[in-house]
Symmetry: C2
Subunit: 403 residues, 2 copies
């Protein structure tokens, strides 16, 4: 059986996790031959032989003994350069960089085909939950209708602290950072970009279509307020940051990332703390729910290990659904029912609602509940940046099929 010789890029939290996981895996038949980091002499928690380290990417890319690149660096631009270079040289790559993938997948898919080389990235979406692999291999048929879930552990941790432990938002965010769930710049997580990038990748494998991140409505949780939490509690629901891609007809699908009122009857209601949960809905099988640790050093590393071992058998994504005869097109021409809370920003002058269902004016804040086109939300997204505004999806509409 082939022996995997890994050139590892990055030795941060995930890189060190991979080093640990490979040591536990006597049957993996894989070893790290070189690790590229910015500063080989920086002291690290995980002890590894100094001779393994290099600061030169080429020392790995030019090494004929390396037959797999594992790339787990933070910097999306550097990740792109490394992954592309490796693939162009015909070296297969395992990557966990969702930002890079969400922006460059079409080109990287083309390169994979032209150079007959594999790029695997199951770890990029939901850590240890095998979402990509199952969408690619197991739900590789016409029955798939929807993938919906909580894809970001940090924001979910914060919301759990707020809802279940009555913590204040600022305290919850600080706790998440202390526990290492949130980045030092938390906006990536709490503004929904992390979920968005995962959703872009998932959609390629769910429906065979790439939609660029900037075309997708994304709204995070950073402006959530006590009044929103109180409102949700009164209604007996939780607020979760939800990413979803949904077939709305045979011809169209839609997708967006947005806080959502989640009722207790829904599977994702019980996805708390740093966990991720994904619901895959299809004709015939209804709903499948996958739940697990979505982030963290070892869960992510274990997912990378699954990709590494898949290379022992020359596994690659075939992107079969890109060749489907009837592929639905992306649309934002659907109607959502949303909750829009505001104070000084006059949300009623910004957003053109198709129908107002409820409105409330109070001393502390106001809200509107109404029906609105997703295209309208996307168009007005740049005007929805006020600290005094918070939006949440109320899943009743095209989602009235008990989503």
């Amino acid at each position: 059986m082939a022996q995997i010789k890994i050139g590892l890029f990055g030795f941060g939290v995930v890189g060190q996790g991979i080093y640990e996981v490979l040591r536990k895996s006597v049957n993996a038949n894989a070893e790290i031959v070189k690790i590229c980091v910015r500063n080989p002499d920086k002291p690290r928690k995980t002890q590894a032989d100094r001779a393994l380290f290099t600061a030169s990417a080429d020392e790995i890319l030019d090494n004929p003994a390396v037959n797999l690149i594992v790339e787990v660096i933070d910097d999306a631009e550097a990740s792109y350069r490394i992954v592309k270079s490796a693939l162009l040289r015909g070296i297969p790559v395992v990557s966990g960089n969702k930002t890079m993938l969400a922006h460059h997948l079409p080109e990287l898919i083309d390169i994979q085909k032209q150079h007959n080389v594999a790029l695997l990235y199951d770890a990029s979406s939901c850590g240890s939950i095998p979402v990509i692999r199952n969408l690619e291999e197991y739900y590789d048929n016409d029955l798939l209708l929807e993938v919906k879930g909580i894809l970001n552990g940090s924001s979910n941790y914060i919301l759990s602290r707020v809802f279940d432990h009555h913590a204040g938002y600022a305290d919850a965010l600080r706790q998440a950072q202390e526990l290492g769930f949130a980045e030092s710049d938390p906006s990536f997580d709490i503004e929904g970009y992390d979920s968005l990038f995962k959703l872009v990748i998932i959609t390629v494998h769910a429906l065979g279509t790439y939609v660029a991140p900037e075309r997708i409505f994304t709204y995070g949780i950073s402006t959530i307020h006590d009044s929103d939490i109180r409102y949700a509690r009164e209604k007996g629901v939780k607020i979760k940051l939800v990413a979803q891609v949904v077939k709305v007809s045979d011809e169209h699908f839609t997708m967006f990332v947005m806080p959502e009122f989640v009722s207790p009857s829904k599977y994702i209601y019980s996805v708390d703390d740093e966990y991720n949960g994904v619901v895959i809905r299809g004709e015939c099988y209804d709903r499948q729910f996958m739940f697990g640790k979505g982030a963290g050093s070892l869960p992510t590393a274990s997912s990378i290990l699954s990709d590494i071992m898949a290379r022992l058998h020359d596994y690659r994504y075939e992107y079969k659904k890109r060749n489907y005869l009837r592929k639905p097109d992306y649309t934002t021409d659907i109607t959502l029912k949303i909750y829009a809370r505001y104070r000084t920003t006059d949300i009623r002058r910004i957003l053109r609602f198709e129908k107002i269902c409820e409105q409330y004016t109070g001393e502390e804040s106001n809200y509107v509940i109404g029906e609105i086109a997703l295209s309208e939300l996307l168009a007005k997204r740049p005007q929805l940046t006020g600290d005094d505004v918070f939006l949440a999806n109320i899943p009743v509409f095209f989602l009235s099929r008990d989503n």
Copy 2:
């Protein structure tokens, strides 16, 4: 791309589901060319061209146009003959027959290797939940510690009626039969054999080892009594029929099927009605939970469809774990803590407990809670057939790792 030409054996609930599902799947590139049934002229709910039907197995096996056999008949012996014949002729097979597989897997694996032909059977375990495929492909490493779950929808439906809806056992069983969840002979489901056979198959893909069904302690729910339900309610737990395979050390694993007291903090606590739920636990990634419809015409058919489509890409199970360097051995030399309720059968004289923790004697029934070797339970299994006896696992021991 290859076109799949299917010879279908069986046109019962699942066979008709496959027929329906393939009609929905414009991209499946698969068609049924012949259907073998005992009586081609029997009227059926699903209308299909009479010319498709035959009563002759050879008419399919000898047909050079058929490049895939899909076998979904009830009769395990007939299933074995058909599957073996097809494989020996080099025709790949998709099968859903867990009874047949659980008894003949070692031979069928050998035939697959010798004749370089594929046998896929994801539908045999947990219907639409992709347990086998994920154990084979995604959790194909040394990190796996345990697979545990509710694998039988019928018995779970019955227990849900009893626990959540306060139905009597007999009523619940009748309801399950009316809804088509339970076989007309329900013993297969409620005595735990269905779960057992699935567990045998799962273990081959989880740990690479086949253990014959008769070597595994199996105890069902048919003798559950109001007093057991009352007891569980008082303790704030539910009784579920649970199948599990667990690594108990680097050198050993154990497995058994048995009712279990499940506390609300466990993932499987919320697996109700006809649903299945499986927890996959491993080093590094902790617990992954997969949940979905485990049985029924269309969920099972959708799983069969996934196997059919996998054949478009020549997918086969590699049974990689069978070649692991360090493979744990099966043991029953572990201690469980169990609840044993009885009335006339003197359970204390049959079972040699290592330690008695509690005992209760009442007018209606008695129970003992104690520690006992799994090997002792297995050895005494033939004596544990009394209608007045009910056993349940209390997961504290080797399962004290918060299973």
